[in-house]
């Protein structure tokens, strides 16, 4: 069985969303391959200890996509199946936005523009301690509206954090519309390059491209932070969710759940 298989992760997300009757499916689907490749081939962690001091850091700054991370943490074994099955239930741990009290979740996010700075602090700590830890910080394109993101970007360059890889999930949507309609971001890669990052743009659903980008980001110890601009599709994997922003808000019913699962299984 392939570890962190994207289709299986999407199925877990659908199960969670259906069980908990929750929203934010589209923004979880857009980052599935980005997380799958990271956990499968790059992120160093101790499966027996989510807080191992020598771990790499996976910072989900776009906390709205947290179901995709829960699905990965479930595969590692940090989140048991029954907890996944009771998602959104009263008295459970797994909330609708990233929460640092959950094993494997590094930052409390959802109020956007927070996680990247915390990740920068962890990357800085690794630099000061001369460890070879890498911090991967996944931010949304909508999240780039937040001023604190650019404060963090300036700081990361100033402090030469070449152990920081910022992954930008460019799915082109934010809560109330496309990013172009709300606050146009222009050329995101050029913006990060102007902030003195090493940059690359990839297809955020192409696992081999993602794999190369992560390997390259970790290997280049040149004093510059890295930005991987990942072009993605919001709702990727289920045709009726793709590029339809209502899946930021819509809850599954029996029919849409069955139809989405059938499509993932290749039955549709």
């Amino acid at each position: 069985m392939k570890r962190f298989d994207a289709t299986r992760l999407r199925k877990t997300i659908l199960d969670m969303a259906y069980a908990g009757s929750t929203v934010h499916i589209g923004c979880a689907f857009s980052i599935v391959e980005l997380l799958a490749v990271l956990y499968r081939n790059h992120l160093r962690f101790d499966a027996t200890d989510a807080r191992s001091p020598s771990r790499d850091y996976m910072v989900l700054s776009k906390g709205h996509g947290v179901m995709a991370q829960y699905a990965c943490l479930n595969e590692i074994g940090w989140l048991p199946d029954d907890e996944i099955a009771r998602y959104f239930g009263n008295g459970t741990r797994l909330k609708g936005l990233a929460d640092a009290h959950v094993p494997g979740v590094e930052v409390t996010a959802g109020s956007l523009g927070h996680g990247l700075s915390v990740g920068v602090g962890m990357a800085l700590a690794a630099k000061r301690e001369r460890t070879d830890q890498t911090c991967y910080a996944l931010v949304g394109d909508g999240e780039l509206n937040e001023g604190a993101i650019w404060e963090a970007a300036l700081f990361a360059a100033q402090f030469k954090l070449d152990n920081l890889a910022v992954i930008v999930d460019v799915n082109g949507f934010q809560a109330m519309g496309t990013t172009d309609e709300v606050i146009a971001l222009g050329d995101i890669e050029k913006k990060f390059a102007a902030f003195e990052f090493d940059t690359t743009t990839i297809d955020g659903h192409d696992e081999s491209a993602i794999d190369s980008a992560y390997a390259d980001a970790r290997s280049r110890k040149n004093g510059k932070p890295k930005a991987i601009i990942a072009k993605t599709v919001k709702g990727k994997g289920v045709s009726f969710m793709e590029n339809d922003n209502i899946w930021h808000y819509t809850r599954l019913n029996q029919e849409t759940y069955d139809s989405a699962v059938a499509e993932l299984r290749g039955e549709a």
Binding site: P53, A100, H101, E106, V107, T108, S111, G113, H114, G115, L116, S117, V118, G119, V120, G121, M122, A123, L124, A125, A126, R128, E129, G147, A148, E151, A152, L154, F155, Q158
Partner: protein
């Protein structure tokens, strides 16, 4: 008081290499001794306070002991959400220093003044709040913060008013109110920060007053206050902070239902500093000149007698 802060900070950093000082491009001259003694533990994070607090949280998660310095108008006010979510929710050992609290930056105006910082932070879980009245209290507060393992806010206000106590505090480890004068008088003045000096001045004019200082506002030492409140005819709080939600609020919350005498809060009323002026001018504009305060207290005491 600022020398005491600098000394305490240098001592802490020399004792523990995990102590890091983060400043938001503030502290000119103040940090010269620190930069000389511990250059590798000093970081100017630029004029970007939100990122600075997030970075401090990340450093703390990885085992460091950040001390985040800014003017109180920015730390904690501008970065309240970062303090709440990035630091307090995880109970990280990050210390926040809010300098120039109150109306210290008098002529610079409202942007650099802070009379709401205690109130804002009191409602955030897990953060301790310290407000020393002189250099001896500051040293004890800082030591207590460094011995704790959670978030803390140290409020530094008007720093050149002189000493309250005769020397270093002995064994102040429980956060209790600290007696300044104590003779079982009918009136009790409860003061924090620069309010202690104001309370002393007013007490000298009114007489029959005991004074206690409150260097730690959260967790508030309820039992210590209730013991001292017993049998008093009147209690007055003093602070260079809004009368809402600061020391006066904390004392009122503790006393309500458990104290029957007269009670008055002296602090900044619900208003900004609208005019330019020096520190004494602004204090007077907020009704915090000693003559004003004295007459308000005398009026309260008179009315109280009449009502009896």
């Amino acid at each position: 008081m600022r020398d005491a802060f600098s000394n305490a900070l240098v001592a802490a950093a020399q004792k523990d290499p995990k102590v890091l000082l983060l400043t938001g491009d503030h502290g000119y001259a103040l940090f010269d001794p620190f930069r000389k003694a511990c250059p590798d533990q000093y970081m100017n994070c630029g004029i970007a306070e939100q990122n600075m607090v997030g970075v401090a949280a990340g450093l703390a998660k990885a085992g460091f002991r950040p001390v985040v310095y800014g003017l109180a108008a920015f730390v904690p006010i501008r970065v309240l959400e970062q303090i709440k979510i990035d630091v307090c929710y995880e109970q990280l050992p990050v210390t926040f220093i809010g300098d120039g609290a109150g109306v210290v930056y008098a002529q610079l105006g409202t942007s650099h003044q802070s009379t709401e910082d205690i109130a804002a932070l009191r409602a955030v879980p897990h953060v301790s709040i310290y407000s020393p009245g002189d250099r001896f209290e500051l040293t004890s507060c800082f030591e207590q913060i460094m011995e704790s393992s959670g978030p803390a806010y140290l409020r530094m206000g008007k720093a050149d008013l002189g000493d309250v106590h005769a020397g270093p505090l002995a064994n102040w480890t429980n956060g209790d109110l600290i007696p300044v004068t104590m003779s079982n008088a009918p009136y009790l003045f409860v003061a924090t920060g620069s309010g202690v000096k104001l309370a002393q001045k007013v007490a000298a004019a009114i007489g029959d007053v005991d004074i206690v200082s409150v260097p730690r506002i959260k967790p508030f030492p309820d039992e210590s206050l209730l013991r001292l409140a017993r049998g008093r005819e009147a209690i007055v709080t003093f602070e260079e902070h809004s009368v809402y939600g600061g020391l006066g609020g904390a004392v009122a919350e503790t006393l309500v239902g458990r104290y029957v005498g007269t009670f008055l809060r002296i602090g900044v009323p619900d208003q900004f500093s609208t005019l330019c002026g020096n520190y004494p001018f602004l204090m007077e504009s907020h009704g915090l000149g000693s003559a004003d305060v004295e007459s308000r207290i005398r009026k309260m005491l008179r009315e109280n007698v009449e009502y009896q």
